[in-house]
């Protein structure tokens, strides 16, 4: 059987050069492909919730919360009983959490191919995102290592501030092209691209 790891293509792989060329000092964009993503459903107060929380170092309690660090394993709040764990590629996190959940009520589902991550970084990144996102992106309201499920470029995605001037956008892969087109267009005035 062929090695699936070698055959897979990330949704923006064919555009990596285009992304690189469009990036400048003020704002840069790149794809972070193949991250492990695990959908978790568990209701607070159940044994399944407690088991998963213990395994992950806690589960985020309210909107915007992220438990963990983007550089390692992080769990993003999606809704009161739904969370998304994001990890480095190919860590087998889903199998680990499935064993943790065992027979308790709840759900652990490998969603790794569901979303890709587009990183937008630089001083002007916030200005680029503010062209479409109605959330308050000021650091006072949207702090580092907070994440919100919202809309950017008329597309539902997870917007995650991983550093003061670095944002991760996690749209579903079928929307990655659209979000990229929108970002590249919004970046023109900040980057050195020859429009």
């Amino acid at each position: 059987m062929a090695n699936v790891q070698q055959l897979r293509r990330s949704p923006l792989a064919a555009r990596s050069e285009e992304l690189h060329n469009a990036s400048g000092d003020a704002v840069a964009v790149r794809e972070i492909p193949f991250t492990t993503q695990v959908g978790i459903r568990a209701t607070q107060g159940t044994e399944g919730y407690d088991a998963l929380a213990a395994a992950l170092g806690g589960l985020p309690a309210k909107v915007g919360d992220v438990v963990g660090e983007p550089s390692t394993t992080a769990v993003v709040w999606m809704s009161p009983d739904e969370f998304l764990a994001i990890d480095k590629p190919d860590t087998g996190l889903a199998e680990t959490l499935e064993r943790t959940l065992g027979d308790h009520s709840g759900q652990v589902l490998d969603l790794s191919a569901n979303r890709t991550i587009i990183e937008v970084s630089g001083e002007a990144a916030e200005l680029v995102l503010r062209k479409s996102c109605p959330l308050d992106l000021h650091p006072r309201a949207f702090q580092v290592n907070q994440a919100y499920v919202t809309e950017v470029a008329q597309t539902p995605l997870i917007l995650w501030r991983v550093a003061e001037h670095t944002w991760w956008l996690a749209p579903r892969i079928s929307f990655a092209d659209h979000v990229t087109n929108w970002l590249l267009d919004a970046m023109v005035e900040f980057s050195g691209t020859k429009g």
Binding site: V63, M78, S79, P80, E82, P134, L135, V149, T150, P156
Partner: protein, 96 residues
């Protein structure tokens, strides 16, 4: 653009929300006991008040949870939002 206060996510853009009709329409205790007319009224007949109206909304673009809202149908003002299962809150200043 209007902001709707999701009980779980806080104020969000109205484009993230979907509408679900009148709230607090209870499923009949014994559907088989209803006449065709009563069944049709349960399925299709809804209030259409001028003023405060309790409605179901869903936060599609965020937590994907259903919740209830009291909205003034004249001014479109959202008076209150509350989770499904909670009683309808008292709001003041409804347009008559």
């Amino acid at each position: 653009m209007m902001l709707i206060d999701c009980p779980y996510c806080g104020p969000r853009n109205e484009t993230e929300f979907g509408y679900g009709g009148e709230a607090h329409v209870a499923y009949p205790q014994d559907p088989h006991a209803l006449s065709d007319r009563e069944w049709a009224e349960f399925l299709f007949y809804r209030d259409n008040p001028k003023g405060d109206f309790a409605e179901r909304w869903v936060h599609n673009g965020g937590c994907r949870k259903w919740f209830n809202a009291v909205r003034d149908t004249i001014t479109y003002t959202f008076k209150a939002t509350y989770p499904v299962g909670a009683p309808r809150p008292e709001v003041s200043g409804g347009t008559k």
